[in-house]
Symmetry: D3
Subunit: 112 residues, 6 copies
């Protein structure tokens, strides 16, 4: 089982622990979160890239991983992802580099 | 040894490494930190919940774990913790969700 | 017109600019935000204090002002607010002090 | 002179104060910053939107204003900007709302 | 009255509003804060520069102003300050640039 | 292989994954990052301490580790590092303590 599958399985397992509490506010937030990346005037694909850059400048590894997988699935090329991650690096500074390193490690696995 | 005991043992071990340096400023900061959560005009219990929400919006897993354990010991119910974590989620956004997942994983262990 | 009234009028004016866009996701987020502070297992009063501390450690003046006004209206005493703001100061560090200063300036006006 | 012109004039005036120091590192950083938003595999237009969302979740009013103006000039519609700002709101939480309000105030002026 | 004097007067006025509350924890925090920048194994001068860079990457204008004034009084040259601010810019990214601009505006006044 | 060697080897391995993409902006950023800590009007040694404090208040374990190792190699004593980390603790608050603990764990290994 690769990094991607392991990540998605663990994410799903923990989401179940959150959602089984059945808290209305939290469930609605999860729904808003999903809805924000649906196709609209902007494509879902372009919103995934927004999510990737937002996650990188806020330096959340799990969020970066999630959006990176979605971005690759949506068809972004490696060069396009480089350019988006470069925007995140310039905005967020060298403090984002450890997260960038882990992003490229995952990209390396996804590409092989 | 469960997640809670392991967490507390490691925290204690590392605190000793910090405090054996005997730096006056750091020791005083640790004292201020403990004092902030004592009973006063607000109960220590209600301050632990403030600590939990502050830790969640600032996205520090160790701090969340610490205050979550203290909150459960102080007698908060699962539903009350859900409501506090929901405030943190709304204030801090989806970037807090990975931390929320790990909080619920610990809560799940503490409840069993 | 005092600081409080001015703040609330401006906040209302700008909220109208946001909401007249009629974007479903944003409107739902605003609803979730309001709902998070309603009475539940935890009182609305205690959730306002959570909002105040979260806003302080995240260093958002407008959010601090809003929750401070609500906290005073909900009946918190000055001493109770001092203790909650002290938790925020210890968690968030000296970088929160400029926000603390402006919080106390507003409290000073609200008290007179 | 409207908000946009005033903002751009002040930004230019202060940039001159920074750059007249002639510090090589800072000048190179400013160049990297400009280069990050040029057309490449991703269009400059789509990178401006990345910059807008990054600025919003990091809660920097000046950065939001700058990218908002560029996004409007690049041809984004109000609805497209709503969707991008909604992603930022969901990722960054209610703590971004005061910045969102000011973003919509500027958008309101730009539209008129 | 220049920017520096105005800043210091306002800071002092608001500090009085905080400290007249006479909250033990807050007073002790203010003392710890002052003590952290005293001469020790590291000079007070070198600690002011640490404070300046910390304030810049955390993007707090008031904190930047305070440490910038102290750094100039401690005898740092413009070139030394440029190098320190460049470290902050690289670590913290372009999101710090609006704060950098305001720092250089104050430096410009302090130099004249 | 100790913590230090393991950290440096992993850092090098992942840097290779980033740099083999050969993205001009990212490579230039890495160069700016290295250049920022070179000897200039301020010594490289004093800039490493700036990097350490900036990394601590921004709460990035990898960045703290990197600058801590460089600071020890540059000849800072334990007492000097205590004072710098104390500045970071006061500025950044108790939310930095988990990172401080891990910093002292590494220092403990480096000293033995």
């Amino acid at each position: 089982m690769g990094k991607k599958e392991e990540f998605e399985r663990e994410r799903e397992r923990l989401n179940q622990l959150v959602l089984k509490q059945d808290h209305l506010g939290i469930k609605r937030f999860f729904n808003l979160d999903s809805a924000a990346y649906q196709d609209g005037e902007l494509s879902g694909k372009s919103k995934e890239l927004l999510g990737l850059v937002a996650s990188t400048v806020l330096r959340c590894d799990d969020c970066i991983r999630y959006h990176l997988i979605r971005c690759v699935e949506a068809g972004y090329t490696q060069t396009e992802l480089n350019e988006a991650l470069n925007v995140a690096l310039v905005v967020g500074g060298s403090i984002t580099i450890p997260h960038l390193r882990r992003a490229y490690e995952l990209l390396d696995e996804l590409a092989s």
